[in-house]
Symmetry: C2
Subunit: 283 residues, 2 copies
């Protein structure tokens, strides 16, 4: 069992511990359905990696982050938003449980993230814990992920590179940045702002790769409908500047990100390796 698998097992056990306490059966079922639908656990793994593998300190925040990511997928898939039927190879929440349950399961996951973190901060009243929670809630928040999602739905950026990159950063980047930065905070790293910069590049590279895969991959491999961005007239880097320019920017950013982590954490550090894997992904 490699390090990834070991951590994923711990993340899943901890998540299951949180959801097993939910007494409303349908709410619990819907929340667990999406939480355990085969997500790659990229954000929690990044958090643990950036926390130098200090698993006890990192795990509650890693789980909270995965709850937030999962809620955002459930709500994004809703008919009023992206209207997707498939996610990670299975039916989306509203297709499986209906819209009302999907909306509330999403709300439940966002709230659960705050419950986990505020509970942990209450159990261990330490500055680094509260700082990590603040970092994560701001990233998920009204000038973070939710703002990016609004722009993605309502704005047509066309060839405005700056606006697309800003939308990317808020919609996807901020949560990836928060994973790395809150991990760094939890393990009391000193050069947090330098770490943030590398994480920012990783986040953008990750989103560009996502758009590239949407164009070049097929549904069986990707586990969701492909060309959905094109179909939905989405603002993507690929749509605006073509596949070649997207690939170039992706390569540049992912190299810079990996170099950054390599410099700070070391070439063989788990964070450096996981970043390499992330940017090499084919699904």
């Amino acid at each position: 069992m490699n390090l990834n698998e070991n951590y994923i097992k711990l993340i899943d056990e901890k998540l299951r511990g949180y959801t097993s306490g939910i007494t409303q059966p349908l709410l619990r079922e819907a929340m667990e359905y999406s939480l355990f639908a085969g997500g790659k656990r990229i954000r929690p793994l990044l958090l643990i990696a950036a926390a130098d593998g200090k698993i006890e300190e990192a795990l509650p925040f890693a789980c909270a982050l995965e709850c937030i990511h999962t809620y955002s997928l459930i709500h994004d898939d809703l008919p009023a938003l992206d209207n997707d039927d498939l996610r990670r190879g299975v039916l989306t929440s509203h297709k499986k449980f209906g819209e009302a349950t999907a909306i509330l399961a999403g709300d439940g996951l966002l709230n659960l993230a705050a419950e986990i973190m505020s509970g942990h901060c209450s159990d261990f009243l330490e500055r680094r814990n509260v700082s990590a929670m603040k970092e994560i809630m701001l990233a998920a928040g009204v000038n973070g992920m939710i703002s990016g999602q609004m722009d993605d739905i309502f704005n047509d950026f066309e060839q405005n590179e700056e606006a697309i990159i800003s939308m990317y950063e808020r919609k996807t980047g901020r949560l990836i940045i928060a994973a790395v930065v809150s991990g760094a905070i939890l393990s009391a790293r000193e050069n947090v702002e330098e770490i943030r910069l590398a994480a920012k590049k990783l986040g953008e590279a990750f989103q560009i790769k996502d758009d590239i895969l949407d164009v070049t991959s097929d549904a069986a491999v990707l586990g969701k409908n492909v060309k959905s961005d094109e179909k939905n007239g989405k603002n993507t880097y690929v749509a605006a500047f073509g596949l070649e320019a997207a690939n170039e920017r992706f390569l540049k950013l992912s190299e810079e990100a990996v170099d950054g982590f390599s410099r700070i954490y070391g070439e063989d550090a788990y964070l450096t390796k996981i970043s390499k894997n992330m940017t090499n992904r084919r699904v």
Copy 2:
């Protein structure tokens, strides 16, 4: 200007301070539309009252609570849930802005609550602050308000008094309890569990009154569609046990709640007065 109006002014100013920093224009507009649609600010006022009027300490939590309450209304009103067109005399969020924006404005308000509280806890790292945040997030959470909302939508309790009361407590009661208890925590009150008990009675009385008003009031006074519970086949105390039994239970609980606060905070305390007003409301 009486105490209520003065506090409401402070709450509104503080809320406006939080939302004015939202850079995505439509998100900000939709969040402010619902936040400033003439809500009675009952929960934040209760929190401030239970905090003995310690306004500086109470205000961030009071605002967070109002954000959570407002998000719950936006999502509850959605077509997939209660499908209401009117709220506080004006169009509901999805009628005004469309479903996608309503969903994200709701998400934004829930997240903003956690942003406000974790930011405040980070600025003032004190046990009482983190405890108040935890109390509020748990009340709003998967075994609190969201759980009650699920039960309200999917379960048919018919004549099961215990189940209806449990649903009431989670759906409405928990946030009212959290208002009072977190206020008490913030002002370092000692008898928190006794206060919680009185708040629990107040919360149930408040919800029964809501159901009674739904049957006996008219839309012009109430500012939302009346008989919507009946129309939606909702589980209400009134529907299950009739108006008379509901009135009796309401009177008993509201008296006990006011007595409880009177005993702990004093007869002339703001919390006692506000509880009296709450249970005497006609809208």
